[in-house]
């Protein structure tokens, strides 16, 4: 069975919500829709306080090359545009809307019928994806329309659909593949037209045999779409690792996946592309796994963007009294939240509730030079060395040791028997080295 070669770990999977069907979450009383929900520049608000908006109405426009449009996820009244705390703990501007009813934009096709026929041209597809605010739903939230505009000197050969979901606990992509497979495949066909590629692969780890079987059955009639079962290994959902696992090609250090002729999109993104292109539905809701062993009713919920985390947790049985940490995203790369009022954004794949006794780091010992951090690094870096260089403020040396190649997957820190905060150092070092590089370019 295929997988990537270098490094990787296998954390306990804990996919406790794998057999919980996606359920629609009722609308909250109020949503806070951040203006910065994708990689790139924040979007510019188009509504003022007091404005009445409909579900799916454009409320903020992405104006620079890498930015995306944002739509209202509910109908109601804009009560204010104010700064709120986001998942990383910073204050960021958001449009706050009080929900009244649920009146959708007339342009959205709300019928249940699956629209198979693709009528739009390549340019029209990209334009629609851009207008309707589709971004990568795997976590990095890179605007999808930008990804689809392949530079003229590069050639896209393969579309790779990421159904790996290698993070422990998360099952939103898994459920989507089981319940919306036909739509996902149409989304893939749309993406293939947009990219002008003849071959697409869907990579799924073999801890989801039902999804592999289901999608394999449905893609039988398409010769140019194949499902690839992958051996379970974290971080296989990383673009570079997934390309390596499926095609054997290696994205060069410091370069983008297109160098290998591959474009990677998440299954959730493929579904959002289907909804945008075929149903004219903007990206204003997504599937979020709300999970944790202490939760009484964990599940997979279809949630409107901007709903507060505590609202989701209430519907998953309420916050257990022994909770010590709440993670937005998975336990390997997710962010620990400072507050439960943080809204769900386009990039939120899951909420993991961690009991108090499991929410602390292990004690730090001296490094015993066991080299496990080096063995598990999927990039082949020496995390222990990079941490030492950063601690000693030797940033030039850290740059030469390729610290910028670190993808922050956390495998090193996960595996370190001495409990050393390797990734903390790597992040610090990357920030410093990034500054040095920017200054060098400026001068």
């Amino acid at each position: 069975m295929k997988t990537f070669k270098l490094g990787g770990v296998h954390p306990k999977e804990n996919k406790i919500t794998a057999d919980k069907p996606i359920t629609n979450l009722p609308l909250p009383a109020k949503v806070s829709i951040p203006l910065s929900q994708s990689l790139g520049a924040p979007s510019k608000p188009l509504v003022d306080k007091g404005a009445i908006v409909k579900t799916g109405q454009l409320i903020a426009k992405g104006e620079s090359f890498i930015s995306s449009n944002i739509h209202s996820s509910v109908s109601g009244k804009v009560v204010k545009i104010d700064e709120i705390t986001d998942a990383s703990g910073y204050r960021k501007p958001a449009v706050i809307i009080e929900v009244e009813g649920d009146e959708w934009m007339e342009t959205i096709d709300r019928s249940l019928e699956i629209k198979t026929e693709i009528t739009l041209s390549r340019e029209q597809i990209i334009e629609k994806i851009k207008d309707l605010g589709v971004v990568g739903l795997g976590g990095a939230t890179f605007p999808t329309h930008v990804k689809l505009m392949v530079p003229s000197d590069k050639n896209a050969e393969f579309l790779i659909i990421n159904g790996v979901e290698c993070e422990p606990f998360l099952t939103s992509d898994h459920r989507l593949m089981l319940e919306k497979a036909e739509e996902i495949i149409i989304g893939i066909r749309i993406l293939m037209i947009a990219l002008n590629v003849n071959k697409a692969f869907i990579g799924i780890e073999n801890n989801k045999p039902d999804a592999i079987a289901h999608l394999t059955g449905l893609t039988d009639k398409y010769e140019n779409i194949s499902v690839v079962a992958l051996k379970v290994k974290y971080p296989q959902g990383g673009e570079k690792q997934l390309i390596k696992a499926i095609t054997g090609r290696e994205v060069p250090s410091g370069k983008l996946p297109i160098e290998t002729g591959c474009i990677v999109n998440n299954v959730g993104t493929a579904y959002a592309v289907y909804e945008a292109v075929q149903k004219s539905k903007p990206l204003f809701e997504r599937v979020v796994t709300v999970t944790g062993k202490s939760l009484s009713d964990p599940g997979n919920f279809l949630v409107r963007i901007g709903s507060p985390v505590d609202y989701l947790v209430e519907h998953a049985g309420g916050l257990p009294s022994d909770t010590g940490k709440v993670i937005s995203g998975g336990p390997m790369m997710g962010k620990a939240l400072t507050s439960l009022e943080v809204p769900i954004v386009k990039g939120t794949s899951g909420i993991v509730i961690v009991p108090e006794k499991k929410s602390h780091r292990v004690n730090i010992h001296n490094c015993i030079r066991c080299t496990r951090c080096i063995t598990v690094c999927p990039i082949g870096l020496q995390p222990v060395l990079l941490a030492q260089l950063t601690a000693a403020e030797k940033y030039e040396e850290a740059e030469k040791a390729y610290i910028m190649d670190c993808m922050e997957c956390g495998s090193c820190q996960y595996t370190c028997p001495s409990g050393r905060p390797l990734l903390d150092y790597m992040r610090l070092g990357k920030g410093k080295v990034g500054n040095i590089i920017r200054n060098r370019i400026k001068n």
């Binding site: 290696e250 022994d322 940490k325 993670i327 780091r361 066991c370 080299t371 080096i374 409990g419």
Partner: protein
């Protein structure tokens, strides 16, 4: 819920920590401990006990009164050093000498460099070599194995060791064939089971291999150093044996005799003092293998494992500089595209 813990990812941690690794090594040494007690009786218990207690005591003493820092004697590393030091000495070694060995291992070889993880040389081996040089007679007077429950009373003071008999015989001008034929020469079976003279932990290759398998399964050690070490030592002694079987021991018994198995699996694999990249570890193993056979055949001592490993420990920083791990994306993209097409 009153306060949320906020920390950077990852929010989960793997199963292994320093303690589980160190205690894993101790568990892997249990078969050899049992064999040593079987053959050397309560003397073996005495040596192991004194070595462990004094190693722990000296570490505690230094951390408490000299460094005035946190006490970390429960992390298992001093325990491993204690057992390993005991494994490397004869079972009839006077208690005071064991205590001196422990002091050298812990105070000089480990704590003076900053404690766990900072020592360039394997502490137990430094202790052993110090004792070997300081107390050569006591350190090379091996008691004969006298299996428990056997009615046979053995009163021989000095038990024969494969390598000791070999060195002595060769110096007397005998051929290897004649030495092997001498009565009392341990041979394959005794080298495997442990019914021979020798340091108390090294006598039974079988018990040590059992522990090594456990460490492999628990992923405490990797194959690189042991395979490179045994492979190069085997090849080197095979070449010598093929050239002149009258002067050199055959490669199979060379692997089983002396401290080879103990050194290869329990001391050369010490994470702290061995290289960090796979290639570096292989080089380390090859170097140690060649040195061991060189010292055994042409050195003053019959056994060369300790010296070989210590010399390679000294080379480790250099090896680390020379061998970096293979980096993702370091080859031109066309190469991987072509390779993928072929494969």
């Amino acid at each position: 819920m009153s306060i949320l813990t906020v920390s950077g990812s990852p929010h989960v941690h793997g199963q292994q920590d320093v303690r589980s690794i160190m205690y894993g090594v101790v568990i892997a040494m249990i078969p050899a401990i049992l064999v040593s007690i079987y053959f050397f009786g309560l003397d073996s218990v005495r040596v192991i006990f004194i070595s462990i207690v004094s190693c722990l005591f000296f570490e505690w003493l230094i951390q408490k009164y000299l460094l005035k820092g946190p006490i970390t004697i429960t992390d298992g590393s001093a325990l491993v050093t204690g057992v390993l030091l005991a494994f490397n000495v004869p079972s009839n070694l006077p208690s005071l000498i064991i205590i001196i060995g422990s002091l050298v291992s812990i105070a000089i070889a480990k704590m003076s460099f900053g404690g766990l993880g900072k020592n360039p040389f394997n502490p137990a081996l430094i202790g052993r070599v110090f004792l070997l040089i300081s107390f050569p007679v006591q350190m090379t007077t091996w008691p004969s194995p006298s299996p428990m429950f056997s009615s046979e009373i053995v009163d021989a003071v000095s038990g024969p060791t494969t390598l000791g008999m070999l060195k002595e015989g060769l110096m007397e001008g005998k051929t290897v064939g004649e030495i092997i034929a001498t009565s009392g020469f341990p041979g394959y079976f005794n080298d495997l089971t442990g019914a021979q003279g020798g340091s108390l932990g090294e006598v039974s290759a079988l018990a040590l291999l059992l522990g090594a398998i456990y460490m492999f399964l628990r992923k405490i050690i990797t194959w690189h150093i042991p395979v490179a070490y045994l492979g190069s030592a085997f090849l080197f002694s095979a070449i010598l044996w093929l050239i002149d079987p009258e002067s050199y021991l055959d490669p199979v018994i060379s692997m089983l005799a002396g401290g080879m198995i103990l050194g290869v699996f329990f001391m050369a694999t010490d994470m702290v003092t061995s290289p960090m990249s796979a290639k570096g570890q292989i080089l380390f193993g090859i170097g140690a293998g060649l040195l061991t056979i060189t010292i055994r055949n042409w050195g003053a001592y019959p056994e060369g494992v300790s010296f070989a490993i210590l010399i390679m420990n000294a080379c480790t920083p250099l090896i680390n500089k020379g061998f970096k791990p293979k980096r993702f994306g370091s080859v031109p993209v066309q190469t991987t595209i072509k390779a993928a097409k072929k494969g």
